[in-house]
Amino acid sequence: MYCNQRPEKPGVKKGMLEKINNMARANSLWVTAYGTGCGAIELRPLGTSRFDMERFGIAMRPTPRQADVLIISGYLATKTLKRVIRVYEQIQDPKYIIALGSCTINGGMYFDSYNTLNVLDKYLPVDVYVMGCMPRPEAVIDGFSLLMQKIKDGRAQGWKHYKENLDYYRENQKKIITDWDLPDYNW
């Protein structure tokens, strides 16, 4: 319950009610307005008249506390990773991560850079990857619809996975963030 304890392992919920809940979750995705990389430039057209993500119930929220989805839009520098972990842990469950762009998949063109991660999967649980450099707004919408489908089927369980394998993720995170000064359990 409190934010300075190790997270409990969440139970598995099933049944009719959970299905309705999942339908509601899938149709109301609130995104943290945090442009972590260059993919953020294509998130702006996504809100305007041609693509209009609001008709799918996707809206931007200015604070992570009220959001469900964190979009990692491109490469992550180690300095940003620290902030992203903090933002991700502030989002309340259930929460999802969409990773945009080739550089989150395998480092992309920055594979030999000393300051960008290569495989985001080691540090945060990614639910949907969208490929491309940079992904077009249509591709981002496609990613969203994939995420919606996963939520409806109850398969978007990255947040549970993160809690269950917290030690694994923490170890990897601490390996590259040399001046780790975040609280270990922060929700």
Binding site: T32, A33, Y34, G35, T36, G37, C38, A40, I41, E42, R44, P45, G47, T48, S49, R50, M60, P62, P64, Y75, A77, K79, T80, R83, V87, M109, Y110, D112, S113, Y114, N115, T116, C133, M134, R136
Partner: protein, 377 residues
Amino acid sequence: MGAVIDPATDPKKTTHLYFGPQHPGVTGNMSIEMWFDGDQVTKAITHVGYLHRAFEKLMEKRLWIQNFPLVCRICVPEPDINEECYAMAIEELAGIEVPEKAKWIRTLVLELARFAVNLMAFGGQSGTLGLHTAGMWGITFRDFVLDLFEELTGARIYHIFIQPGGVRRDLPEGFEGRVEAVLKKIEERLPELDRLVLNNAIFKLRTQGVGIVKPEWIEEYGLVGPVARASGSTRDLRKDAPYEVYNQLEFDVVTETGNDIFARAMVRRREISQSMSLIRQILKKMPKNGPVATKLPNLTTWRVPAGEVYTRVESSRGEYGYYVVSDGSLTPRRIHVRGPSYVHAVPLLERMLVGANIADVSNIMVSLTTCPPEIER
């Protein structure tokens, strides 16, 4: 005697606040650390580096031509400036001549990019004050220009269209007509945007007399672009040190003397009209036939002659510079990028924010149209 406490950061009298990096009012991924006395900022420190991708290091590892996909990613909203600047440096070092038609196409691409960015920035200025309607319209208009880019270069954002000695391909058939159609469509809607933003009493109230850039700061800090031109400077590299075919086009440098955010928005608005006229002139005067690229040597073994050069191009945010050092090997020795945001977002912003109201922080920041990736590269 205890330690001396700076009155600007005295914890008993000031509030310590962080703006960003997760903050909707901050342009891009950067943060400002501030101390407030009531509503007023007493001290501000900008933190950058969240987007540091080590471009300059990576470019030393790659072939000269392989760097084109890297340089265009230095500035996300306006990538063509980087390609142009880098190509100009290589041409200067290697002594490559650019064919006449390629120069015209390059100018067209640069002007279209400036047009798109100014549309977004002009709308974004009111978006940061809560007038989302104008911001939405601005980005929608920009989308039409991105369609043109897609047809011409095959990509919406990162074009990789300019290469040393020319451009990648000629204009497609009937492209002029489609550019004209887009310009016409946007021109019809622009008066509405003007009425919404520039005639808006509250927009004027929020922007006039706020975020003053004093004219004497221009030389002291090295301010460029719309920020300098809104404070009475008449400096525009397209006029003062013309590159490509800007000396064959007719235009006047846009200047305002308001020094404030409203003057900067006004400069951007007038540059939108200027870009439209320039694009029309380019399409009219452009030679119909001719080569669009010179033949380059085998690119995998291409050694650019040793030398050092600093090339400059006027972007929508101001002067963009590339300092390129070659030692005659397969890869560059050193490339240093000087983006206009470097000075605007770090020393200037830290100075401008002191004394500002908390409500005006993001307002001031957006009026400088800082682009964090070009600070940290």
